[in-house]
Amino acid sequence: MKAKIHVTLKQGILDPQGKAIEHALDSLGFKNTANMRVGKYMEVDVNETDRVKVDSQVKAMCEKLLANTVIEEYRYELQ
């Protein structure tokens, strides 16, 4: 089963990268853009077919390593 994981900064956490990209978009002429946020996208194959097991495993991966839950939140889809 494949897990597709998104890790993003929580609302209210300053995102300097997002700000810089937002300014660049503005310079490029995309004047109607705002609130650019940069996150991470990860994929991993889990050698297990039981969806419930994979779900708890991926959740543990996110909590322990893939996201720092002080500043980041995560969501994932299983396929």
């Binding site: 300053l14 002080v70 500043i71």
Partner: protein
């Protein structure tokens, strides 16, 4: 004294730390590869600066799972002194030995320069050779030194005098203009509640010898060595 310097893949200030403790301060130094465990009889541990695991995922996020880190945690939990410098500080945060996280510098730039930091608490085992409010000139070199934590934790570490160093002017004024990286409350270094784990972004090992033009960083190492001689000076 025997000082252990942990070497992660990507550490690049490990030999600077070794040099300062061994050649400048005359102590015995053991270099500890991250896959090894700690030998008996270490008096203190240094997690040096660098780019452990290429800063992949988040700074320090992967190094905290290095095999040696369980022993480092155990050493710290037993009250052994641990200093994390720059990337070492980031690893301590990810390992949960210190509260908070590091964000990217607000400027997005890697900043390498001398800065001034104010000693906010001079009665710790890492600052007992400093005066309270003393201004130290120490180098920084990082892209992720923007300290952040939630308001409750921040209030807690301030109330408990765990904020040890703050970025300031040469005269010791803490202002937003001299905050190099956007760090919350100009925080440059913090300590755990027990007073035996210090993390700081500035590099005292690069500012500890007169030939380098600056010896202020030496005070931090001398303080720690002093406290090891006098165990009653532990904690806050």
């Amino acid at each position: 004294m025997t000082i252990g310097v942990v070497v992660f893949p990507g550490s690049n200030c490990d030999h600077d730390c070794q040099y300062i403790f061994k050649d400048v301060l005359g102590q015995h130094v053991e270099m500890i590869w991250h896959k090894d465990t700690l030998s008996e009889g270490l008096d203190a541990i240094v997690l040096p600066g660098g780019f452990s695991y290429g800063d992949y995922l988040r700074t320090g996020a992967i190094a905290r799972f290095s095999p040696v880190m369980d022993a480092v945690k155990e050493f710290a939990n037993k009250g052994g002194p641990v200093i994390g410098i720059c990337n070492g500080f980031q690893i301590l945060l990810e390992a949960g030995l210190l509260p908070g996280v590091m964000l990217r510098n607000t400027s997005l730039n890697f900043i390498c320069k001398d800065v001034y930091v104010k000693v906010e608490n001079a009665s710790t085992r890492f600052t007992n050779r400093c005066e309270s409010g003393q201004v130290l000139k120490i180098s920084i070199a990082h892209a992720d030194g923007n300290y952040y934590t939630d308001p409750v934790t921040l209030a807690g570490i301030k109330a408990n005098a765990q904020v040890i160093f703050r970025y300031c002017t040469a005269e010791g004024k803490v202002t937003s203009e001299v905050n190099p990286n956007g760090s919350l409350d100009n925080i440059a270094g913090i300590m755990n509640a027990e007073g035996n784990v210090l993390g700081l972004m500035p590099h005292p090992e690069r500012s500890a010898e007169s030939v380098l033009g600056n010896e202020d960083g030496r005070l931090i190492f001398l303080s720690m060595l002093e406290s090891l001689k006098k165990p009653q000076l532990t904690g806050v």
